[in-house]
């Protein structure tokens, strides 16, 4: 493609309408004077029909936004329209022109008649339309251009959605995992080959989630056989890599001479990588072996889906943490929750109550999904209970509501729940078996707040008693989960470290960031931190 002219236009209709599209197209035509009038009229008519269709139907009559890109190549014109419409059933299936006396229904058949190919795909909630018309000058009388594939834009969209799906899996650059490694180990034994790998194709590199064999876990995409595998849905078998036409550079004599791979898919069906076996010398691969390879690939596939579900769950759980800062002049509040696995049993929460706010930090026994479900329940119950009464009332109501659930699941929850009066700095709290809340005074003195009650879920009659503390200018209240203690040799060392972090930090956010940096990648348990800091006078 020696020359091309591309223009992109963003439209929101209303207020824009098809006239806006006409004006944009005119600016494109102005810079490609050699475009045949026939090509110009055809693509313009098709684009206008498509635009009108999108404006009228894509969002059920409501406002719709879309981006329209026109690319004029030497041999063809491509128009790609991406709209945010809800409707994905676009009725592109070939239907003829309606009856002569029909007043509508000509739009789609006209588009189909005006261009050589029409593609529609729905990716990530967007409709992507690609219209391609071969230019008159490039039309070959021998091979009709009808149905010509769009090589550029739809290819780019494919690659974009592939990349996005891969990133959503959240698996790239994660440490090795036994659940994947056992599959590659098994494959080398089953096939009697020198290696096996689970390779993911990430932009311009191949990254191995699991690898048996003496190859680096990262190679350029151009050197990757799996990057070829993901081009189709077929199992790719290359008995002798030195004889692989067009890809002779991929094999390595004496090290990498045989390859067999099967594509791996993201939950949305995008080909994100390949499960493969390879050997140091050329080899035959039987039908039975092909079937086995596919079986192993589908096993890997299942493990990948589990990852996906977990990362969805993680997103949901992060979404339950407070997203908005409290607007409390004179106060600075921050929090973080770093689950040891994808999801965890800790949470923190805050919301305005009266002339101040309520704060919670809770730690559900255990880690993982079970704890996360309980944590979400505790959060919801406490939030609704906090609407009534004071701190003790809220904890009492929440504890009563949760007793049955915690009992039947055999789980208990430690909890720090507090109310802050933003004017006086008075903090009233109930600590249910948590005991990991500190007040760091500006003077450098640090005091640990005592736990006054057993955790929720311990089956004893409890009278919740609120304690009161006061935060002066420059003081900070820091509540952490016991995962923080695992980062240190003991409570004393943890306390010391937290104190120095608090003293050195300029803001609540800095305290949280310092703790996050300390915990990332090394914490064996969920790590949660909540900081309420009163501005220095």
């Amino acid at each position: 493609m020696a020359d091309m002219v591309a223009r992109t236009l963003r439209i929101t209709a209303p207020p824009d309408d098809v006239d806006s599209v006409h004006q944009a197209l005119e600016s494109v035509w102005a810079v490609v004077p050699d475009l045949e009038p026939r090509d110009r009229m055809s693509i313009e008519t098709a684009v206008i029909e498509l635009t009108a269709n999108v404006i009228q139907y894509a969002n059920r009559g409501r406002a719709v936004s879309f981006a329209l890109t026109i690319v004029v190549y030497d041999d063809r014109v491509e128009a790609t329209l991406s709209d945010s419409g809800e409707v994905d059933d676009v009725g592109l299936h070939s239907r003829g022109m309606p009856d002569a006396m029909a007043e509508s229904g000509r739009g789609i058949p006209m588009i189909q008649a005006l261009v050589d190919s029409v593609e529609h795909r729905r990716v990530e909630g967007f409709n992507h339309w690609t219209l391609v018309r071969a230019r008159e000058a490039a039309r070959d009388s021998v091979t009709p251009a009808r149905g010509m594939p769009s090589v550029s834009i739809s290819g780019v969209i494919d690659e974009m959605s592939r990349q996005r799906a891969l990133e959503e899996l959240g698996i790239l650059d994660t440490p090795p995992e036994e659940r994947f490694d056992r599959v590659t180990r098994l494959a080398t034994q089953l096939f009697g080959v020198s290696g096996s790998a689970i390779n993911l194709i990430d932009r311009d590199r191949q990254w191995s989630k699991s690898m048996v064999g003496s190859f680096p876990s990262e190679v350029p995409r151009s050197q990757s056989a799996c990057a070829i595998t993901i081009e189709t849905d077929q199992t790719l078998i290359v008995p002798d890599l030195s004889q692989w036409e067009g890809h002779e550079h991929i094999g390595i004599p004496g090290e990498f001479e045989f390859y067999a791979g099967h594509p791996l898919y993201a939950p949305g069906g995008e080909r994100i990588g390949s499960f493969c076996v390879f050997d140091a010398s050329p080899r035959h691969f039987s039908e039975r072996e092909v079937a086995m390879l596919r079986d192993l690939a589908s096993w890997v596939q299942q493990e990948l889906s589990v990852s996906q579900e977990l990362s969805r769950a993680a997103e949901v759980q992060q979404g339950l943490l407070p997203q908005q800062l409290l607007s409390m002049p004179g106060w600075d509040i921050a929090g973080m929750c770093l689950p040891a696995r994808a999801v965890g049993g800790d949470f923190y929460d805050w919301y305005p109550v009266g002339e101040g706010a309520a704060f919670t930090l809770a730690d559900t026994m255990g880690k993982g999904i079970g704890s996360a479900i309980i944590a979400a329940t505790v959060r919801a119950v406490l939030r609704s209970a906090a609407r009534f009464g004071d701190v003790t009332g809220a904890v009492d109501a929440a504890a009563a509501a949760l007793t049955g659930d915690l009992d039947s699941t055999g789980v208990f929850v430690t909890l720090f729940h507090a109310r802050l009066d933003m004017d006086t700095g008075e903090v009233t709290y109930v600590d249910a078996g948590h005991g990991l809340t500190f007040i760091a005074k500006q003077s450098g003195e640090v005091r640990r707040l005592r736990s006054t009650a057993p955790p929720l879920g311990i089956d004893i009659e409890t009278e919740w008693v609120a304690q009161t503390e006061s935060l002066e200018a420059g003081d900070a209240l820091v509540s952490v989960s016991d995962g923080v203690l695992d980062l240190y040799a003991g409570v004393e060392e943890a306390l010391e470290s937290v104190t120095s972090i608090v003293m050195l930090a300029e803001s609540a956010e800095e305290i949280v960031d310092a703790m996050r940096a300390r915990a990332r990648g090394v914490a064996p348990d969920d790590v949660t931190v909540l900081v309420v800091r009163r501005d220095a006078a």
Binding site: D17, V18, D19, H22, P37, R38, M41, S42, E44, T45, I48, E49, A52, I55, Q56, M97, A100, M101, A102, E103, S104, R106, G107, P109, M110, A113, L114
Partner: protein, 119 residues
């Protein structure tokens, strides 16, 4: 959209839309044609000389006008179509029921427009 109107000496009503006949302007033309028929004008010419672009909504308006004119015992004809309009008419085979005439004046004069040599 702008719709220029005139009446030919033989009583034929001529409507000449100006600009693009798309979903933006088509409802105006549709309304105007309905109004003409309701007012008793059953022989109507849509002069397309100033129409630079026509899409399926424009076609819909023409077909609607054609139907109501015929139901009233008259006819609707088109004249002076530009290149893009001719392309669209041909593509949709509507040139068979809406045969393009050279001018508004000749639209009802030519009894057999096919004899002009074109289709």
């Amino acid at each position: 959209m702008e719709l220029r109107e005139r009446t030919l000496p033989d009583g034929v009503a001529v409507v000449a839309p100006v600009g693009r006949l798309t979903m933006v302007g088509a409802p105006d033309l549709r309304g105007k044609l309905a109004e003409l028929v309701a007012d008793g004008h059953t022989r109507i010419v849509v002069d397309l000389s100033e129409v630079v672009f026509l899409d399926s909504s424009g076609l819909g308006a023409l077909v609607a006008g054609l139907k109501s004119a015929r139901q009233a015992g008259g006819d609707l004809r088109i004249a002076s179509a530009t290149e893009q309009v001719l392309l669209v008419l041909k593509l949709t085979s509507l040139d068979r029921v809406l045969e393009p005439h050279a001018t508004a004046e000749s639209a009802f004069a030519e009894l057999r427009p096919r004899d002009r040599g074109g289709r």
